[in-house]
């Protein structure tokens, strides 16, 4: 690999790293054809982890970080002084194929600054995906960041080659968008999401291929004053209206050459973690947005207890729950019991009466679940009424603020 290409790679990987998503999951299982390269496993694979604890699954780069937009939160906005570079379509294809052959990556996550026009940029992104699929028989994972300002027919074409399309919402409210991202427009973002959503649904029904791993988005946390509750309600809306696969929450991170209208301090990473936990409650634990809102104080999640525990502490009258009798919905509400543990409990109790040490073998969260559970040999004695319960179950505050 020559030094010019290496230099571009350093600049354009650095410029892409603020996108939280790196997932390679959700694509239908595929194997390489006779002369082709690549496969997808369904669940995705993390090929390495960087010291920030995040996984490298895809080659996550920008086609270019030249950009005509001026979004305050973005390191690549036109008014920033970062170093700029631009890959050719062929260079991105070569890097993807050669990295893939060495088993470094699952595929490509390609995004770009806007150059010339949104349409021009979108065409370049699609050309990369098309060349990988057509010229190299590439069956690995391709995630394209779509450009909502591009003409709709270009998004239609991108979906033919990509496994996943995403459009970043970035800012959860129209007002923040106007203040921090003057060229962006909430209506066109939601319009493009709706377009992708309905095309994915149609293609699925007609057994055609269009972004088979669905669409996702990202919102930045802590760059504006939006509360956790408002973020979660927004996500619930996105999941419901556009059939999104994932909403990523990215704690606003200080960037080199930051803009003056941004807050100086990053939000605690723990806040981002709590949002993911709440998001999980929506998607896998049958919580409604109202339930999740109950777990907040003035719209914000506590940093020292997780949202499910916070909800349980506010709803103590609904506990303890009998692990041998309660229905699945209620078991899912027990702090410490994950969805898989609940499934195992429901299966096992058909054949035996569960004692506390049985539960310990079915779930790794027994310590937290214990005050909320009745088992064959265990009944918490008024433990749910104890005032110090929260303090006993809270996590030490310094977690995740590492240095």
């Amino acid at each position: 690999m020559d030094e010019i290409l290496a230099r571009k790679l350093r600049i354009l990987a650095d410029a892409a790293k603020y996108d939280a998503s790196c997932s390679s999951s959700g694509a239908p299982k595929r194997a390489a054809g006779k002369d082709g390269l690549g496969s997808t496993t369904g669940a995705g694979i993390c090929h390495a982890y960087t010291p920030d604890g995040r996984c490298i699954s895809l080659l996550k780069i920008l086609l270019t970080n030249y950009c005509l937009f001026d979004c305050a939160y973005c390191v690549n906005r036109r008014s920033s002084n970062v170093r700029r570079a631009k890959f050719s379509v062929e260079e991105v294809v070569t890097l993807t194929v050669e990295f893939y052959k060495r088993n470094y990556i699952e595929g490509l996550f390609l995004s770009s600054g806007i150059i010339k026009s949104p349409d021009h940029t979108m065409e370049l992104l699609t050309r990369v995906a098309k060349s990988l699929r057509r010229d190299h028989g590439f069956r690995g994972y391709i995630h394209l960041k779509s450009i909502p300002e591009a003409s709709p027919w270009l998004i239609e074409e991108a979906g033919l080659y990509a496994d996943r399309l995403s459009i970043n919402l970035e800012l959860p409210t129209e007002a923040s968008l106007e203040r921090l991202a003057p060229e962006k427009d909430g209506a066109s973002i939601q319009g493009a999401m709706a377009q992708i959503g309905s095309r994915i649904a149609e293609a699925k029904a007609e057994h055609r291929r269009f972004s088979p791993a669905g669409q996702s988005t990202q919102v930045i946390v802590g760059a504006d004053a939006t509360s956790d509750e408002a973020l979660i309600r927004k996500s619930a809306h996105l999941y419901g209206s556009f059939g999104l696969k994932r909403v990523y929450y990215s704690a606003f991170s200080p960037i080199p050459d930051g803009s003056t209208i941004l807050p100086l301090k990053a939000p605690p990473l723990q806040r981002e973690h709590r949002l993911y936990q709440a998001d999980w409650l929506l998607r896998y634990y049958d919580f409604t947005p109202d339930d999740v809102a109950e777990a907040t104080e003035d719209g914000m999640f506590a940093l020292d207890v997780d949202p499910k525990l916070a909800w349980a502490l506010k709803n103590r009258h609904r506990f303890p729950v009998d692990v041998n009798r309660a229905d699945r919905e209620m078991l899912l509400r027990v702090p410490g019991l994950g969805a898989r543990a609940v499934d195992k409990i429901v299966r096992a109790r058909r054949h035996t009466s569960l004692r506390l040490d049985d539960v310990a073998r079915l779930s790794s969260g027994l310590k937290r679940a214990r005050p909320f559970l009745i088992a064959a040999d265990h009944r918490p004695t008024g433990l749910t009424d104890r005032l110090d319960l929260r303090a006993r179950l809270a996590e030490p505050a310094q977690q995740l603020s590492l240095f």
Binding site: M1, A32, N81, E183, P256, D257, G258, L264
Partner: protein, 518 residues
């Protein structure tokens, strides 16, 4: 019979499926004394000697023999990989019948056999025994200590497989005559080489590759995997032309403001690091992280040093096709959504036409000639238009879908109706096209055109006649009639009447057009 030599031949034993229900391979296992049933007081302990590593066929054969002889788990000990002669040679057991087990149990056995734990065979035999003695649903009871332990072992294997698929790194070795081979060294925790290989076959089928481990090697030449003797780390070249670039990527994608070493080590334990070239960058990244973050926060925001690209920003919004010709150029460049068509068939007629006709999609003739409504249905439309007094050359004619979709039957290309999804895919273009032409009246010919113009399915027979296409906010009036190809498909006795009704419709269209034009 004694211990097996390492088996290098590709194992015919399936990794999945009801492995124990298969027959054959019984000769591979050895088993202990021939005494049929252990006495009640001091049961003589049988010792079953299995091959090294993951000896699924051997275990399967042993289980058959033991079950047939009614040997309880307490009466048997399993040993594996030992050199011959350590145990008293024993005659091979009488071959037992296949043992019927639930599918999930067979899967669990195949997964756990590669585990490094010497107790694995005894634990599995304990499980099999209990299931055969009546606990058919035992696997459902995840709280049972044995099921729990085997579950943990299965998880360990899954994790080991996953990490091998994730962390193995190939290096390129040029071979004779311009070919190349990719070689890797990996140290799995369990005996999983054979189980891990299919993943690499599916992914790198077109490459030639070799995976070396301390226990054995796997070689792919494009046809089949050969499993061979243990490899040596030194057999892998010391570097690869893309490794520096990969390390650059690894360094650049790390965000120092989010350093979280515990999370990294939990997923990528240190024992893997020495075979992953990128991890050499970790110490320096960690050392510099604090300073880099502090610098980012402390640095005052700076004025942009370059001039603001005002004109480029203004020009950026100007990307929409500016004319029908520009739009048509885009459509012509596009590829068919369903492959096969020769070319995109564009609309035809004057910009500013009072009436626009929208059909379904080009047919065989249209696809060859690149013009709309030139096939049999198009000719019928021309005839009907002439009878109704509509001049074809003053109307605009186009299709909802721009490419021919067909099924090949012999030499004939049989038209296939576009799906709803395909119609919406092409709808953006139809909308822009009508914007540029600016008709006062749009005639939808048939259901597909109606679908394109309304966005929903509308029954033609009931909606036939004047119609409001709400999507277009009264920019033009609408009219619905049948597609001329429908007339061609009717039986002869019905044709005349239907054709007359079609011409009647076109007369109403002509009358409406006269009103609108004045």
């Amino acid at each position: 019979m004694t211990a097996q030599a390492p088996r290098h031949a590709p194992s015919p034993a399936p990794r999945r499926g009801p492995a124990l229900a298969r027959t054959g391979e019984a000769d591979r296992a050895g088993s202990g004394p021939e005494s049929p049933a252990p006495g009640p007081e001091s049961p003589p302990l049988r010792t079953v000697l299995l091959g090294p590593g993951a000896d699924l066929p051997g275990f399967r054969a042993a289980v058959r023999g033991l079950v047939a002889a009614g040997v309880a788990p307490e009466g048997v000990a399993f040993a594996s990989g030992a050199a011959p002669g350590l145990f008293a040679p024993a005659p091979a057991p009488a071959e037992g019948a296949a043992v019927p087990l639930p599918r999930a149990v067979a899967d669990l056995i195949a997964m756990v056999v590669p585990h490094r734990d010497p107790e694995r065979y005894a634990l599995l035999y304990g499980l099999i025994w209990r299931i055969l003695k009546g606990e058919r649903q035992l696997l459902e009871v995840g709280s049972d200590p044995l099921v729990h332990r085997l579950g943990l072992m299965r998880r360990a294997i899954q994790r080991d497989l996953h990490k091998m698929h994730a962390f193995l790194r190939f290096r390129r070795v040029p071979e004779a005559a311009g070919t190349e081979r990719f070689v890797a060294w990996f140290e799995p925790e369990h005996h999983i080489l054979e189980a891990a290989a299919p993943f690499f076959v599916e992914r790198f089928r077109a490459l030639r590759w070799t995976i070396l481990t301390p226990e054995g090697s796997a070689i792919w030449d494009g046809e089949a995997v050969r499993f061979g003797p243990p490899g040596r780390r030194e057999a892998v070249p010391p570097g690869d032309g893309f490794e520096a670039g990969w390390r650059d990527y690894y360094e650049s994608t790390f965000n120092p403001a989010r350093t979280n070493l515990r999370a990294m080590r939990a997923e990528m334990p240190k024992k893997y690091w020495h075979n992953m070239p990128e991890t050499a960058a970790i110490p320096a990244l960690i050392r510099a992280a604090g300073t880099r973050t502090a610098q980012m926060i402390e640095r005052e925001p700076q004025m942009p040093t370059k001039r603001q690209p005002v004109r480029a920003v203004a020009a950026m919004a100007d990307q929409d096709p500016a004319s029908l010709d520009a739009l048509n150029a885009l459509i012509r460049r596009s590829e068919p959504l369903v492959p096969g068509a020769t070319q995109a068939v564009l609309g035809e007629g004057p910009v500013g036409a009072t009436v626009a006709f929208v059909g379904e999609q080009p047919g065989d003739q249209e696809d060859r000639q690149g013009r709309p409504f030139v096939g049999p249905a198009g000719q019928l439309l021309s005839r009907a238009m002439a009878e109704a007094g509509l001049a074809r050359d003053r109307a605009y004619l186009t299709n909802a879908v721009k490419h021919f979709k067909f099924e090949e039957r012999g030499k004939r290309r049989i038209h296939q109706k576009p799906t709803a999804g395909e119609v919406s895919h092409y709808r953006w273009w139809l909308d822009r096209e009508l914007d540029f032409v600016g008709p006062k009246l749009v005639v939808a010919l048939g259901a597909t055109a109606v679908l394109a113009l309304t966005g929903k399915a509308v029954p033609i027979t009931r909606a036939r006649g004047p119609f409001r296409f709400e999507r277009f906010d009264n920019r033009f009036q609408g009219f619905i009639t049948v597609h001329p190809s429908y007339l061609l498909r009717l039986p002869d006795e019905a044709k005349a009447e239907a054709y007359a009704a079609f011409v009647d419709d076109l007369r109403r269209v002509e009358a409406l057009a006269q009103d609108l034009a004045s």
